[in-house]
Symmetry: none
Subunit: 284 residues, 2 copies
DNA sequence: TCTATCTATCGAAAATTTCGATAGTGGTCA
DNA sequence: TGACCACTATCGAAATTTTCGATAGATAGA
């Protein structure tokens, strides 16, 4: 089974015609016909129903379609990853939620980079699910996250516990259900617990990335939202933010996830730096 | 890119030798050499480092390994699903550790098949890491597993807690460190906790599959090993097995993992059956 | 019935793959 | 140091596969 059979299949499926697929693929129509026939021989059933108006997918063809896409994607991905496998002596991709980048890690990462020029570091902010997925598929090397998961072959190490509190920049305390509430998605655990505690406050998901700081947005707009205590404490002290009475608090452990089998020369300076920075926030 | 290049690569990786791979694949050594060279031309870098002692994976080869597995699996899955595409309306692949197949699910699956002839079910036994990997890559639709993970787009649902106890078929209680102990790998959590509790008892990993039942092996050979209590309770009652005093017990929750977005007509009868069967084992 | 438009097949040429033989490389041992 | 062994790489030939251009076959529409 050659990936080109899958590519040809996908092009015929897209164009609806052997001739058009041939043009797009720069081969002759008879080559397309032969390839599709070859594919059908391998699969044991036809994938297209031919007619004067072209070719339509059969039930088997519809079943095969997602596999054909997967084959092409896996192969493309393989080529990409293999081609990157020795560009840097070490390249480490780190992921964490945005709050941990801004509040804890970014300055230290910059400093670490200058101390270890041989090690390329890429920092990614993302939601928990995305970070988990990328750890598993190998496009992320280590992550700091709220959910204690165990991707295969990784070590999960507790760093500290993060307390989330509701704060508001409004002069008067917001009422439940009030439109000044902004839901920030701090991960699936928070999402679930928040939905349980405040089912009436669920809003469409808000996606965070490294470039934006929702705290500034809340300060500027008299909104209320949940934030890690560690970030809002200075603003509470100065009166810029207030804590509404009787609002739920959520506490989630923060974990460091990194490969068991790793190049310690590359990883351990980063791991140690993360442990030091996070040590400041450890509660007893 | 032909899937046979991936298969050849995997066989060389497994055997460590072009010659052995050639024997296993029923082709000549020069064909293996040519195929690996062809693969390396496509990827743009070597995947094996050749030596007199055989062939070892390079960094690029290690990167490529998981993609090669994925290519082979996607194609196998494609063939299976396409071949079933007009026999069954839906095909659902279920994975679980062997103990859950034999002790809980197999009879029920057989019964369910006769009740829902339009739904093809394939049952796979495997270790936790493999099941997780296959859920993520889409070659497994739902799984029952010990580790609470959250593959993207899946629901994780607690079923029951499984207690693992040490049992022996020997007449006299085995001593720690004794050679009658057989280590069975019940998953990464068990492996880790076991290594912590009994560092002197770690043995090379034992792989389980659906065809073998380690309990029969223990009964026949006067060995001791850890098993789920639910499986060994009848043997303990009858005196065929004994529990050594003061041995550690391990308890792990069992979860059902299935897609959030799913064809409920196909999935829900299976999910309900699994919940019913597992309901028997729920402890308070 | 004719025309147009599509796919299927044919035979030839080109390209690729496989084989058996053997060259090349390098480790081990006397 | 040389012989031997065990592995992979390469060669040339043969086998197989793939592609092409030409054309047959099928079918819808005018």
């Amino acid at each position: 089974m050659d990936i080109n059979l899958a590519r040809t299949f996908l092009m015929v499926a897209e164009t609806g015609s052997f001739i058009d697929a041939a043009h797009r693929l720069n081969i002759t129509q008879s080559t397309v016909s032969a390839r599709i026939k070859g594919l059908e021989d391998l699969l044991g059933r036809p994938v297209f129903e031919r007619s004067k108006s072209g070719a339509d997918l059969t039930a088997a063809g519809e079943q095969f379609h997602k596999h054909a896409l997967a084959l092409v994607r896996v192969w493309q991905r393989a080529q990409l990853e293999v081609s990157l496998s020795d560009q840097h002596r070490d390249h480490i991709a780190i992921g964490a939620p945005a709050t941990l980048w801004h509040g804890v890690l970014l300055k230290s990462i910059a400093k670490l980079r200058s101390e270890t020029p041989d090690i390329a570091i890429s920092a990614t902010a993302g939601l928990q699910d995305v970070l988990t997925q990328r750890l598993i598929e190998g496009t992320l090397d280590l992550a700091i996250m709220y959910r204690p998961i165990q991707p295969p072959g990784h070590t999960v190490e507790h760093l500290f516990d993060e307390e989330f509190v509701l704060v508001t920049s409004a002069r008067t305390a917001p009422k439940k259900g009030s439109s000044d509430y902004m839901f920030i998605n701090w991960g699936a655990d928070f999402q679930r617990d928040h939905a349980t505690a405040y089912p009436e406050l669920i809003k469409p998901g808000l996606s965070l990335d490294l470039g934006s700081n929702p705290l500034e947005y809340v300060l500027a707009n008299e909104l209320s939202a949940y934030f890690p205590m560690r970030l809002v404490k200075p603003y509470l002290s100065r009166g810029r933010l207030k804590q509404p009475k009787r609002a739920r608090r959520f506490v989630y452990p923060v974990y460091l996830v990194y490969p068991e089998a790793r190049d310690e020369d590359a990883y351990d300076p980063i791991l140690d730096m993360i442990r030091r920075e996070c040590g400041r926030y450890a509660t007893d």
